[in-house]
């Protein structure tokens, strides 16, 4: 297979470009989108590359259409992605829920900007964390990843596709305007250097007849894609294992929603990833995700130089959330600080996890600038 960009070597590219290349290496062959700052460059890169790798890139009429198209493409067997920013992400929420309910593997990138509303199009924020987790209506469970460097944007995009396929679920990748436009050195691997996971297909007719069952006991049904002769009916209505609508029996809803939760939560250890810096002997812990983590790492180094025992927990997975790990962390430190570029979203999760075992303090920041390391360090020493 020939790639429209160099593989097996490093390149100096912006986050948006890294996401597009990673998607192609992960097997994405369908992209539908609608232009919006700061995600447009993902679309522009996909528009350039997709026809060359026999994929599809199409500009839809809006974001409702974009996510709808990628769900359709996924049922037709393609790995599919869309990318947007805040206002577009809001428009996608109804069909994001549809993807959860129909267990459709898709990847939705949200390069966050300052909001609400059209807000600050060219400035970064982390204001959509809660929306990514809980934006669609009803009880649902999906996966949310959050990179902090261009290399991580690349790596986590591949991971997003793999998790989507493995667990038959939508995966949201939360970046931000800073990451979207910032150029960094990224290693672009050759295809045999990366692990690519593909969805389970039905092994036989019997499995195909249960497109929403659990034949393997892992909560993830094989996906009978269209055109293979299985005659699968897919609906966003509450459905039984066969896919038939059953909207008035409480136990059918309970079973379906229960399994959609379980298939993610039972595999938390596989899904959740993070990095720890200097936490072993820390008195104070910083918990952060995304772009802010870069300042947080620097802050920890500055504090250590001053003799303050500070450490950092940098989350790559924002959802599902490891509340137990945070509680354990809280048991070993006096204080946890949560710097984030919003008025407090990750903070709520960390506070719940800490469960009163340590004081949790928010370091909020809005306006479009990333916290400086000094701003974080000063809060730590009080």
């Amino acid at each position: 297979m020939r790639y429209p960009f160099p593989v097996g070597k490093a390149d100096f590219i912006p986050g948006d470009e890294a996401i597009a290349r990673a998607a192609i290496l992960a097997g994405c062959r369908f992209y539908a989108g609608y232009p919006i700052t700061p995600a447009s460059e993902i679309f522009e890169a996909m528009a350039l590359y997709m026809p060359l790798v026999d994929g599809v890139s199409i500009q839809m009429e809006d974001e409702l259409g974009s996510i709808a198209a990628i769900i359709g493409a996924s049922w037709a067997g393609a790995k599919a992605m869309t990318a947007t920013s805040g206002p577009g992400f809001s428009l996608m929420q109804e069909n994001l829920g549809y993807a959860v309910m129909t267990e459709t593997p898709i990847v939705v990138v949200n390069m966050m900007r300052g909001g609400p509303s059209t807000g600050q199009p060219t400035f970064p924020s982390q204001g959509d964390i809660m929306q990514a987790i809980w934006g669609t209506h009803g009880d649902h469970m999906l996966i949310v990843l959050s990179p902090s460097t261009v290399q991580e944007a690349f790596d986590l995009t591949i991971r997003a596709f793999n998790l989507a396929e493995k667990y038959r679920t939508p995966v949201v990748l939360l970046g931000d305007a800073e990451l979207a436009h910032m150029r960094e050195r990224v290693y672009i691997p050759t295809p045999d250097e990366i692990e690519v996971i593909n969805r389970k297909l039905p092994a036989n007719e019997e499995e195909a007849r249960l497109p929403f069952g659990d034949p393997h006991g892992d909560g993830v049904p094989p996906m009978p894609i269209f055109g293979k002769g299985y005659r699968t009916y897919v609906t966003g209505l509450t459905h039984d294992e066969n896919g038939h609508p059953r909207t008035v029996e409480p136990e059918v809803q309970e079973r379906l929603i229960g399994r959609i939760y379980r298939k993610i939560l039972d595999h938390k250890d596989d899904i959740i990833s993070y990095e720890k810096f200097g936490l072993d002997d820390a008195d104070v812990a910083i918990v952060s995700t995304g772009i802010v983590s870069r300042s947080a790492i620097r802050a920890v180094k500055m504090l250590r130089e001053r003799g303050v025992k500070a450490g950092l927990l940098k989350l790559h997975t924002v959802w599902p959330f490891d509340f137990d790990m945070i509680e354990e962390l809280a048991e070993g430190v006096k204080k946890i600080l949560v710097p984030e570029m919003n008025m407090g979203q990750l903070y709520h999760l960390v506070k719940e996890g800490a469960n009163g075992k340590a004081e949790v303090e928010l370091i909020p920041k809005v306006g479009g600038e990333v916290h400086t390391p000094m701003e974080i360090a000063e809060k730590v020493v009080g």
Partner: protein, 281 residues
């Protein structure tokens, strides 16, 4: 035309375990479905090469009853989902079963853009002049003066002519009939299914329960008699003045052309891309 026994059509194409349907007695959706299945049968298409898509509404429940691959999606968005299915696997033939509200209100934007792109899809449109599933609110198709629960004193807005909209947006094939015109209906669906690009067959379809009841037409026969009164065949309509056509619905075949469909256009685009990048001669 030789018509197969309705039971044969039913046995061949419906999912028995899903019956009975949710449709009310006298509802016209079943007729339009029957026409569609007869057209498929006559053309000899395989059940495995067709995917049915729909949005939300009574008419959108149809894909659940037929034994094909089917995607029952969100209100108004069926054609956007279909765009993904078709471009990801052009071998699949797509039938979209849609309501008039689904198509022209919440789905209006997807509708005109799917037509503009000439998406390869056949839309079977159930126009019952109302929102059936939600209990008879007015729709963008409700004729002036008719009642719905959200315009209890009679609709004051102008209606959409969905078939007309499709013609001007560029659809390759557009026809409108009432479910009363069954031979024309079946023939139109057959033509539509064989078309590259976007095709639309609209059916005026009785909804006695949500619509008729509020407009002094409690039964399907009353609604059919009303259709006879308000419909005008295209040839006749051409000779009528705008004043005479006020409140009437023209039926017939409005477009039949062969512009390239989206799949063909995209495949050509792909080739162009490869040539421009020097990947292919």
């Amino acid at each position: 035309m030789y018509l197969k026994d309705a039971y044969d059509v039913r046995d061949k194409y419906l999912r028995k375990e899903m019956l009975p349907t949710i449709f009310c007695p006298g509802c016209g959706i079943g007729s339009a479905l029957q026409f569609t299945l007869r057209a498929i049968d006559d053309l000899g298409y395989s059940q495995d090469e067709i995917v049915w898509v729909s949005g939300i509404g009574c008419s959108s429940r149809v894909p659940g009853y037929v034994n094909f691959d089917g995607l029952h999606t969100t209100h108004g968005r069926a054609l956007a989902f279909a765009t993904g299915i078709k471009l990801a696997n052009p071998d699949l033939k797509i039938i979209a079963f849609m309501g008039d509200g689904d198509t022209s209100a919440i789905g209006g934007n997807h509708f005109i853009h799917a037509i503009r792109r000439n998406l390869d899809v056949t839309v079977i449109l159930i126009n019952n002049f109302t929102y059936g599933m939600t209990g008879g609110q007015v729709a963008p198709t409700t004729l002036k003066g008719l009642k719905g629960t959200t315009a209890p004193y009679g609709q004051f807005e102008n209606p959409f002519d969905i078939a007309g909209l499709a013609v001007s947006a560029g659809a390759n094939y557009v026809a409108r009939w009432s479910v009363f015109n069954y031979l024309q209906g079946i023939n139109s669906i057959k033509k539509a299914l064989q078309k590259e690009g976007f095709s639309l067959v609209e059916f005026l379809s009785p909804c006695p329960v949500s619509f008729g009841r509020r407009n002094r037409m409690k039964t399907a026969p009353e609604l059919l008699r009303w259709y006879q009164k308000i419909t005008v065949p295209l040839n006749k309509a051409k000779k009528m003045s705008p004043e005479e056509l006020e409140g009437k619905v023209v039926i017939g075949e409005f477009a039949d052309r062969d512009r390239p469909g989206l799949v063909r256009s995209y495949m050509e685009y792909r080739e162009r891309a490869k040539k421009m990048m020097g990947w292919e001669e």
